[in-house]
């Protein structure tokens, strides 16, 4: 029986092959959900799916694409918005 604190589903289970041929159960923290476009809801590319403490240690350029609305809108939505603004 696992320890009571590990019986909750807030941790994910990982089967790891340990040296010695034994397979042991490790408990790891769940990763946050992937970032999505604010307009269409598509999965955003170029954004790492990491825990906040790991994101904090990353460079700004590694956390989102370097373009206007990078990390907020997908590239298609961004293009549409720019064109809409221009044509009005």
């Amino acid at each position: 029986m696992p320890a009571p604190r590990l019986r909750s589903r807030s941790l994910r289970k990982v089967f790891r092959k340990v040296s010695g041929g034994r397979v042991s159960l490790h408990y790891k923290k769940k990763k946050p959900k992937a970032a999505r476009c604010g307009n269409c809801g598509a999965l955003l590319k170029g954004i790492p799916r990491e825990l906040p403490f790991r994101m904090r240690s990353m460079a700004k350029t590694k956390k989102r694409p370097e373009r206007p609305y990078g990390g907020v809108l997908c590239s298609k939505c961004m293009r549409k918005e720019i064109i809409n603004k221009v044509r009005q």
Binding site: E66, R67, P68, M78, I82, V86
Partner: protein
């Protein structure tokens, strides 16, 4: 729509939503642009043409483009000129300098060596003395032991005699 001097807005990449002017038409797909964006080759699909056209020569320089854009109230991209920093070149050392360096090194080396030797010598001397002392002591001990043994033997030899005497007595 795509022609020389046409003011456009970029819709892709890190220069997106910045205004530029077409300087050259390279292909049926690509044009050369300059202005608020970087001066670069660009796909037509990544540009949204506006309704303004500037009079500009083909392959105009960045300064000319900047002047033309100023009339429209736009500021061309300005890159800071990099401050030229000369790399520190390694100079060969003159033989005199090399000699001085060698001497310094030798001094350092001698210093360390001297210390080590001193310590080693002291230890060695101490050990030797100790050894000598030990050896002497050991010899003495051996002598003593031998004496004791002889004494014991004597006693042993004496004792049975006594017993013999007693027996005899």
């Amino acid at each position: 729509m795509i022609e020389l001097g046409r003011v456009c807005i970029k819709t892709a990449g890190r220069d997106a939503s910045k205004k530029c002017v077409i300087i050259d038409i390279l292909d049926d797909k690509y044009v050369l642009i300059d202005g608020e964006t970087r001066r670069r080759k660009c796909n037509i699909l990544h540009i949204e043409p506006l309704n303004q056209v500037i009079k500009i020569e083909k392959n105009a320089s960045h300064e000319e483009v900047a002047k033309a854009l100023e009339e429209l109230g736009l500021k061309a991209r300005e890159t800071k000129p990099k401050p030229k920093t000369e790399k520190p070149r390694k100079k060969r050392k003159t033989p005199e300098q090399l000699r001085v360096q060698k001497e310094e090194k030798r001094k350092l080396r001698d210093l360390f060596k001297f210390k080590k030797e001193e310590k080693a010598e002291e230890k060695k001397e101490a050990t030797l003395e100790e050894k000598a002392g030990l050896v002497e002591e050991k010899k003495e001990e051996v002598k003593e032991i031998a004496e004791k043994k002889t004494a014991k033997k004597e006693t042993k030899t004496q004792k049975p005699k006594k017993t013999d005497k007693k027996k005899e007595g």
